[in-house]
Amino acid sequence: MQNWVNYSEASDEDLVAMAREGNTNAFEELVVRHKDKLYGRAFSMLRNEEEAIDVTQDAWIKAWKRLAQFHGDSSFSTWITRIVINLCVDKLRKQKREQTESIEKIEEESGGVERFMEVIWPNPSEGLEKTELRSVIDKALAQLSNSHRAVLIMHEFQGMQYKEIAKAMGCSIGTVMSRLFYARRKMASLMSKLNNEENHEF
């Protein structure tokens, strides 16, 4: 006789254990809980709604297939978000291979002209409400190059260490450090610019 289970009150760990036994209802509850976060991560990295939906779905399917590999070393949320990030990185890598990168783009990867500029960290959030600030961050993220955005998201929002980012992106720790540095600087500069524009609008 099957016991009645209140899935919405079960912990992620319990749901994972049930899903491992083939319980799709438990897995569906995990999807309900984490779908927005996963989509958010995919969208912020890819900046394309359709691709982000595909990646999110693929991540759930992969997670189901690999549930036996999840040993609880991290939370389920962290584990599945890593799957999304890896899928996004693969997608970005494929896109990069397909595109011929312009000199300006390559320059940007290594800091571009900003490399030779004085380091200024303006207060990019001055006078902004939380919702406005999030919108500014979103817009600024959209303007970063793929590699700068990926590194920034993995570090700032996913809390990944340099070596983990390097492994995911297939580059050296030194490259991660410099990309992160330029990504932050570019981000601060874009946010300041966007902030000024928003203030001028009102």
Binding site: T24, F27, E28, V31, V32, K35, D36, Y39, G40, F43, S44, E49, I53, T56, Q57, W60, I61, W64, K65, R66, L67, A68, Q69, H71, R115, V119, W121, N123, P124, S125, K130, L133, R134, S135, I137, D138, L141, L152, H155, E156, F157, Q161, Y162, M177, S178, L180, F181, R184, M187, A188
Partner: protein, 163 residues
């Protein structure tokens, strides 16, 4: 004491703020930040900026309905292949965690098999020896062989008087 910062210093300060340095390096950067006003200003700004970003991550809503998403996922996970893959991954994990004992067990099986094979070969050589004895006897040569189990060896007796 160095008063200007180069790119390497900036990366070091960034790594220090990101808690990526070991204790020795961390102390060195801390000393640099405390003694250099530019480094201090840079470190403070970077710290503030990082905090601003992490606290204000943009939020996005999944644009399609839960039922549509789940229907797409369920269609794939109900496919028989995932079960096979799940078994594969489960077996892989089992192998990883039990690799050493399994390797030892496999080695023992191989050694045991080799021992049995050798023993079988020895028996065969007994037959071989016996047939050679018969052949030798036919030629008028007195040859006698036997296996001495206590000594674990074959003894071959050749009657030289026959020559």
């Amino acid at each position: 004491m160095k008063k200007t910062m180069n790119f390497k210093d900036q990366l070091k300060i960034q790594a220090w703020i990101d808690n990526e340095l070991d204790e020795k390096e961390s102390l060195a950067v801390k000393a640099m930040v405390e003694s250099n006003s530019d480094a201090k200003k840079f470190a403070e700004s970077l710290r503030k900026f990082n905090s601003l970003l992490t606290k204000n991550e943009p939020e996005y809503k999944f644009p399609i309905s839960q039922s549509e998403l789940w229907a797409n996922i369920k269609k794939e996970i109900n496919h028989p292949q995932p079960r096979v893959l799940q078994f594969y991954y489960s077996s892989l994990h089992w192998l990883e965690s039990k690799l050493i004992p399994v390797a030892i067990a496999a080695s023992l099986v191989i050694i045991g098999g080799a021992y049995l094979a050798l023993k079988f070969t020895h028996n065969k050589s007994t037959v071989h020896l016996a047939s050679e004895e018969s052949a030798a006897l036919n030629l008028g040569i007195n040859v006698l062989s036997f296996y001495a189990p206590k000594q674990e060896m074959y003894v071959v007796w050749v009657d030289t008087n026959a020559y």
